[in-house]
C-alpha cells in the first residue's frame, strides 16, 4: 500500500509553547483517517503543517511524495478545510465556484453545483447568510472540487448538529469511495467518526499516543477485569495503558498479543471510544483519569 503521509520527528514550536513534538505518523493511501485528541492537543498544527500553510520547527515530512511546498503541482493535489470554515462572506456559492475555476487548473464546477442542489443550498446567496451547516457543506464541496488526492479537514463537524454531521460525513465518504481519495479529519470526539473512519491518529498533549489501522489497533488491545491485585505480572508481558482500581476490583486496558494465562482475569474486547479515552486519560491527572473511566462503565 502506498503511503500518502509520513512524518518523522516533526516538531512545531510557537514562541514558548510546543504545539507538536516528535510526531511520527504514517497514513496509507485511500483511507479515512481520524485525527483525534482533546482541545489543544496539536491537531490543527499537524494539519496545517501537512497542508504547507505552516512550516515545522524541526523534523521531516513527506506528503504525496514530497515536502509540502508552495508550488501549483502540490497545491493541486491537497485540499484543506480550516476549522473556521473560511469563505468570503459577501460572495455567493456561485462566485466561490468562479474563484475556484480561476485559481485551479483542475476544477469540477459541475460537482459543486450538483451536490449543492441535492443539499438544497442556494447558489445565489452570500455565504455569510447561509446556516453553519450549509457553509460547512459548501466549503467541503469546494475543497473536493479541486479533485485533490489528499483532503485535510480540521474539525469539520464541530459546528454541526447531529443530522448535519451525518450528512457531512456521508458526503465525504461518498467522495472517497469514488476515487481513492485519502482523507484526514480531526475531531475531539471519536463517536462521530466511528462509522466512517478506518485509520486513527491519537494526539494528546502535543504527542502522538497511538497511530494505525483501527481494526489492527482494536485487535491488540484488551480489557482485563479481575479481583483487586498487583499488576506487575501482567506488566511483564503487556503494556498497561490504563489501570483502574476500586475497593475490590481492578480493570486494566492492556496492549500486546501475548496470551494472558492467569485465569483470575476476565478478558474482553475493547471499543474504539473506550480505547481512545484510555489513551487520552494517560496524560490527565490520576483523579480525572479515574473519573473518566468510572463514567465509561455506566
Amino acid at each position: 500500500m502506498t503511503t500518502v503521509i509520513q512524518t518523522r520527528g516533526l516538531v512545531k514550536r510557537f514562541r514558548r509553547v510546543t504545539a507538536l513534538s516528535d510526531c511520527d505518523v504514517t497514513v496509507p493511501e485511500g483511507c479515512i483517517c481520524a485525527l483525534i485528541g482533546p482541545n489543544g492537543a496539536g491537531k490543527t498544527t499537524l494539519l496545517r503543517l501537512l497542508s504547507g500553510l505552516a512550516r515545522p520547527t524541526a523534523g521531516e515530512m513527506s506528503v504525496l511524495g514530497g515536502a509540502p511546498r508552495q508550488d501549483p503541482a502540490f497545491l493541486a493535489e491537497v485540499g484543506f478545510l480550516a476549522q473556521e470554515i473560511p469563505l468570503y462572506r459577501r460572495f455567493t456559492a456561485e462566485e466561490h465556484i468562479s474563484i475556484g475555476a480561476h485559481l485551479n487548473r483542475r476544477w469540477d464546477a459541475a460537482l459543486v453545483r450538483d451536490r449543492l442542489k441535492s443539499l438544497n443550498i442556494p447558489l445565489d446567496r452570500a455565504a455569510g447568510s447561509l446556516s453553519g451547516g450549509q457553509r460547512a457543506q459548501l466549503a467541503l464541496t469546494l475543497t473536493l472540487a479541486k479533485r485533490p488526492r489528499l483532503v485535510l479537514l480540521d474539525e469539520p463537524v464541530a459546528a454541526l448538529d447531529p443530522l448535519a454531521r451525518r450528512h457531512f460525513l456521508a458526503t465525504m465518504a461518498d467522495a472517497v469511495a469514488g476515487d481513492g481519495l485519502t482523507v484526514v479529519l480531526s475531531s475531539h470526539l471519536v463517536a462521530d467518526m466511528e462509522r466512517v473512519v478506518d485509520h486513527l491518529i491519537l494526539l494528546s498533549a502535543s504527542h502522538v499516543q497511538l497511530s494505525g489501522d483501527i481494526d489492527a489497533l482494536l485487535a491488540e488491545h484488551r480489557v482485563l477485569v479481575g479481583p483487586r491485585r498487583d499488576t506487575a505480572a501482567i506488566a511483564r508481558t503487556h503494556t498497561i495503558v490504563q489501570a483502574v482500581h476500586t475497593a475490590r476490583q481492578t480493570t486494566l486496558l492492556i496492549r500486546g498479543n501475548a496470551p494472558v494465562i492467569d485465569p483470575a482475569w476476565e478478558s474482553s474486547e475493547v471499543g474504539l471510544e473506550e480505547m481512545v479515552l484510555a489513551y487520552m486519560g494517560q496524560d490527565a491527572a490520576p483523579a480525572t483519569s479515574q473519573l473518566t473511566s468510572v463514567g465509561e462503565d455506566q
Binding site: A54, G79, N104
Partner: protein, 340 residues
C-alpha cells in the same frame, strides 16, 4: 486572480470613484473661480483701474493673487488625498483576509502565495497610481493661476501636490498599507500604522531630505550690499554673519538694518538703530566709518534655483518609489516565509 481581485474590490472601486468625482468637482469649481478672479485682477492692473473693494497690489510677486483661504483649505485636502487609497485598500488587502481566515482558503487553491500577492498588489498599486495621477493632473491645472503669479511651485505644500510626486506618494501609501497589513494582520491597527507612517515619511523627507537633493546655492555679499535674487526660487535660509562668522540672530523687534541685531551693531553704526529699536531703513545715509565697520559683515541667501524644479520632482518621485519597492519586497518575503 485578476477576476478575484476585481470581484473583491469592485465596491471599493465604486466608492473611490465617487470620492474622486467629489474631489474633482471641488477642484473644478474653485479652480474656475480662481481663473476668473485672476483674469479680473490682471485686466484691472493693466488698465490702471485697480480700485476694487480690496486694495490690489499689482506688482508681480507681491501677493497679487494667492487664492485666499479657499486655496489654503483645498491644499490641505490635497496633501491628504494620496494616503487614502493606501489606508482603505492597502491596509485591508492582507489583514482583512487574515481576520476572516480566508488566506487559508485562497492559499490552498492551485496558485502560489507569491502569485496571489503579485497580482493583487499589482492591481492595487496601479489603482493607487491612477488615483494619484488624476488628482495631480487636476491640481496642476487648479493651481496654475497662483503659480503663474507667485512662482511658488517649489515651496513645500505646493511642490507636494503638483505634477509627479502625488503619484509616487499614492503608490508609497499603498505599499505601506499592504506591508503594515501583512505584518500586523489586523486591519484597524494596520490603517493606523499606515497613516502614521505616511505622515512621518512625508514630513521627514520634506524637512530633512528634500533640501539636500542637490546642494543648495548660496549667494553672499559684504554689507551694506545685499544679495538680490530675481524670479522664483526656493529659499532655504537667509541671514547675516558677523566678521567672526557667527550667524546673527535675535528677536524681530530688536533687529536693525541688514538683519543685524541692535546689540551686535558696530559702534560706528549706532545711528542705524531706530528710535524704537526697530528696523531703520538702510538707505544711503551711512557714515563712512559705519560703512567701513560693516564690511566684515556678510549677508547671504541659500536657495534652490527654480530651474531645478523638475530635477527635484524626479528625485522625490524616485525616493518614494524606492521606499515602496522596499516595503513590497519585505511583504512578499514575509508572506511566503511566515506561517499562514
Amino acid at each position: 486572480m485578476t477576476w478575484l481581485t476585481w470581484r473583491q474590490y469592485r465596491a471599493q472601486f465604486a466608492v473611490g470613484t465617487a470620492v474622486m468625482a467629489a474631489l474633482c468637482l471641488l477642484l473644478v469649481l474653485t479652480g474656475l473661480e480662481f481663473v476668473s478672479q485672476y483674469h479680473t485682477i490682471i485686466t484691472e492692473c493693466a488698465s490702471g483701474a485697480h480700485n476694487g473693494p480690496t486694495s490690489v497690489n499689482c506688482s508681480i510677486g507681491g501677493g497679487l493673487f494667492s487664492g485666499g483661504p479657499t486655496a489654503g483649505f483645498v491644499s490641505l485636502i490635497l496633501l491628504a488625498t494620496p494616503v487614502l487609497a493606501g489606508l482603505f485598500l492597502g491596509a485591508p488587502m492582507v489583514a482583512a483576509e487574515f481576520e476572516a481566515g480566508t488566506t487559508q482558503f485562497a492559499w490552498m487553491q492551485g496558485i502560489t502565495r507569491a502569485r496571489w500577492f503579485a497580482v493583487k498588489a499589482g492591481w492595487l498599486l496601479l489603482a493607487a497610481a491612477a488615483w494619484g495621477a488624476v488628482i495631480a493632473a487636476l491640481t496642476t491645472w487648479w493651481a496654475s493661476p497662483t503659480n503663474a503669479e507667485h512662482g511658488s511651485e517649489f515651496y513645500p505644500g505646493r511642490f507636494d501636490v503638483l505634477y509627479l510626486v502625488p503619484v509616487a506618494y499614492a503608490v508609497f501609501a499603498m505599499a505601506l498599507g499592504i506591508c503594515a497589513g501583512a505584518l500586523i494582520r489586523r486591519t484597524v491597527p494596520a490603517m493606523a500604522v499606515t497613516l502614521g507612517g505616511f505622515i512621518a515619511a512625508r514630513v521627514a523627507v520634506t524637512l530633512w531630505l528634500r533640501p539636500h537633493y542637490l546642494s543648495a546655492v548660496t549667494v553672499t555679499r559684504s554689507l551694506p550690499a545685499q544679495p538680490q535674487l530675481t524670479g522664483s526660487y526656493w529659499l532655504i535660509s537667509q541671514g547675516t554673519r558677523n566678521p567672526a562668522g557667527l550667524l546673527m540672530v535675535g528677536p524681530q523687534d530688536q533687529m536693525a538694518a541688514f538683519g543685524v541685531p541692535v546689540s551686535s551693531l558696530p559702534k560706528a553704526c549706532a545711528g542705524l538703530a531706530g528710535p524704537t529699536g526697530g528696523l531703520t531703513s538702510a538707505a544711503g545715509g551711512l557714515t563712512s566709518s559705519c560703512r567701513a565697520a560693516l564690511t566684515g559683515f556678510r549677508s547671504f541667501i541659500t536657495y534652490q534655483p527654480a530651474s531645478r524644479f523638475w530635477a527635484f520632482q524626479g528625485i522625490e518621485t524616485g525616493v518614494f518609489v524606492v521606499l515602496a519597492a522596499i516595503l513590497l519586497t519585505v511583504t512578499a518575503v514575509v508572506l511566503i516565509r511566515r506561517d499562514a
